[in-house]
Symmetry: C2
Subunit: 282 residues, 2 copies
C-alpha cells in the first residue's frame, strides 16, 4: 500500500502515515502538497496524508483549496502531538553550541528555550530535515538542529535536550484522503462528516444553513469561514458535523442544506481520530 | 504619535502603519508580537498594528491569543494587497543569478515563478529584510531577494522583476489596537464589531448563540472556531458582526449572547477597512 505525504523520512507527515497505517505502509515523499494530491488523483498512491490545521498556527488553507479542487474523499484523521528536540552530532556538548538550525516555524515554537541561550545564533532552514542533513554534511560540531525525536533516530543524531517547545498543546491534525468515500461501519466509534459550502452574503443566511443541523440535533464539531479567492466578498464555510452522511438525519440535513447554498461539497465521513505522541522512540 | 508594529523599516507591518496613520506617524519596530502588545499595554505607544489573517496562510492565532490575554480594543482595520518583487544590487543581471533569499512563506508564495528558473538555489531567511541586508552586507552580485517594493526603495536595491507572486488575491488583514474603545461616529461608513466567546460543547449551542444576531437581522461578517489551548475539547468562536456595539439591536444581541456563553469578550467596534496596494512607490 503506497501512501503519499509531504517531505522526507523522519518528517511529521511521515510520522502521521506510520501512526495511521502502521509500519508496513510504503511512504511516497513529495516535494509539495499539489504533488501529494496528484499522486492519489492519478492512482499512483492509494491514499494521502496531509496536515489540515495546527492548534498554534491555524488552518492550512492550501490544503483546504486542494480539497475543493481535487475530487478526493476524507476517509480518516489523526492528531499528532508535536514535540521538538535539540539534537547534534554525537560528542557535541550543549555548552559548546554557537548555531541552531531549524524551520522558522519550529524556531518560533521554541522561543522561550532559545531566549535562555541568547548567545546562540538561529539559522532558518527549508525543513527540519534540511537542518539535520546540513549539520551532518558539513560535520558541524558547534551546531544543533531542532527537529522531531524520530528524525534524530533516523539520522543518528544525539538528543541534547528533550521538549524544547514552549507549549505542550501543539497539535497538528492530518486528514487521510482516498478516491472512494468510506462506508458506514458497524462500530460504536464516533464518526464525523466534513462539508464545505457557500451561502449568499446576506444577513441570516449562515444561521439558516446551521438550522438544518440544529433542528435535527446534529452536533457541529468545527466551523470556519474563509473569504473566496475570487476577490468578491463571499465566504466558503468548512463544517465538521457529527455522524455519517448516510444516516437518516444527516442525509435529510444535507439535502435541506443544498436548497439554501450557492456551492456545496461533501468532503467525507470518517471515524473521529486518535492523538498520538511524537516524543516516543519510533 | 507612536505606533508599535512587528519588524523593521520596509516590512509589510510598517506599510500597514503608514497606510492607516499616514507618513507622519512615528513607528516603533518590535522583535515579536508580545512586545507589540506590551508597548501599547504599558502606554509607551498609543496604538499597535498587527496582522490577524492572510487570505492564503489563514489566521494568525498568536495574535488572536494576545487579543484575549491583553486588555486592548480594536479601533480599526486595514487590508494590504501583498505583492512580491525580485530585487538585487544595482548592476546585477537577472541572467547571472544563482541564489534567491527570502522568508520561507514568501518563497512558497512565488513557487510558479521560481519553478521557471530551476537552477536558482532558494535560501530561507528570518525575514525579507534579513534577505536584503545579507545581500548588501556580503555584496552578493549573483543573488537576489524577494521582498516588497517599498523595501527595495528603502534599501536601494534595483527591481529585476515585478509581481513574482503566484496569486494576486494575497491579502493580509491588519488590526489597529488601542487602550480605549472607539466611539460611534456620525458617519455613514459601515462599522463592524469583533467579539470572542465560548459555548458549552453540546449540540445546538452555537446555533443558539447565532440566533441572537439572526433574530435582529444583524449580519455575520466572519466566523471562526478554534480549539481552546487547555486541551479540553472546547472551542473559542471569533465573530465579526455588522454595526457598532452601542447600537440598540447590537446591544440587545450581545446581552442576550452572554446568557448562553461560558466566556465572552467584546474586542471592539470600528469602521470597515480599506484595501491598499503594496506595488506602488512608497
Amino acid at each position: 500500500m503506497k501512501i503519499a505525504h509531504l517531505g522526507e523520512k523522519g518528517s511529521f507527515s511521515e510520522l502521521a502515515v506510520r501512526g495511521y497505517f502502521g509500519k508496513s505502509a510504503t511512504t511516497v515523499g513529495c516535494a509539495d502538497f499539489s504533488q501529494v494530491f496528484d499522486e492519489v488523483s492519478n492512482k499512483r498512491a492509494s491514499a494521502a496524508v496531509v496536515p489540515i490545521e495546527n492548534s498554534m498556527a491555524g488552518s492550512i488553507y492550501e490544503n483546504y483549496d486542494h480539497l475543493l479542487n481535487y475530487n478526493l474523499q476524507i476517509i480518516g484523521e489523526i492528531y499528532l502531538n508535536i514535540s521538538h528536540f535539540l539534537m547534534a552530532l554525537p560528542a557535541t556538548n550543549i555548552t559548546s553550541l554557537t548555531h541552531i538550525y531549524s524551520h522558522p516555524q519550529v524556531l518560533s515554537q521554541c522561543k522561550k528555550f532559545l531566549k535562555k541561550h541568547d548567545t546562540w545564533e538561529c539559522i532558518p532552514t527549508k525543513s527540519t530535515i534540511d537542518a539535520i542533513t546540513h549539520i551532518k554534511k558539513e560535520k558541524l560540531h558547534s551546531a544543533a538542529a531542532i527537529a522531531s525525536l524520530p528524525s534524530s533516530k533516523y539520522y543518528n543524531l544525539a538528543v541534547l535536550k528533550s521538549h524544547v517547545e514552549d507549549n505542550s498543546y501543539n497539535t497538528t491534525r492530518f486528514l487521510i484522503l482516498s478516491h472512494r468515500a468510506r462506508k458506514k461501519e458497524d462500530s460504536l466509534a464516533p464518526v464525523k462528516t466534513s462539508i464545505a459550502f457557500s451561502t449568499p452574503n446576506e444577513p441570516g443566511f449562515l444561521y439558516k444553513a446551521l438550522s438544518v443541523f440544529a433542528l435535527r440535533d446534529i452536533n457541529l464539531l468545527k466551523i470556519e469561514s474563509r473569504p473566496m479567492m475570487s476577490g468578491k466578498f463571499e465566504y466558503i464555510f468548512y463544517l465538521d458535523i457529527s455522524g455519517h452522511y448516510t444516516e437518516k438525519a444527516q442525509q435529510n440535513a444535507l439535502t435541506h442544506l443544498q436548497e439554501i447554498t450557492t456551492m456545496y461539497r461533501l468532503l467525507g465521513s470518517y471515524p473521529v481520530g486518535k492523538t498520538i505522541a511524537t516524543d516516543l522512540p519510533h
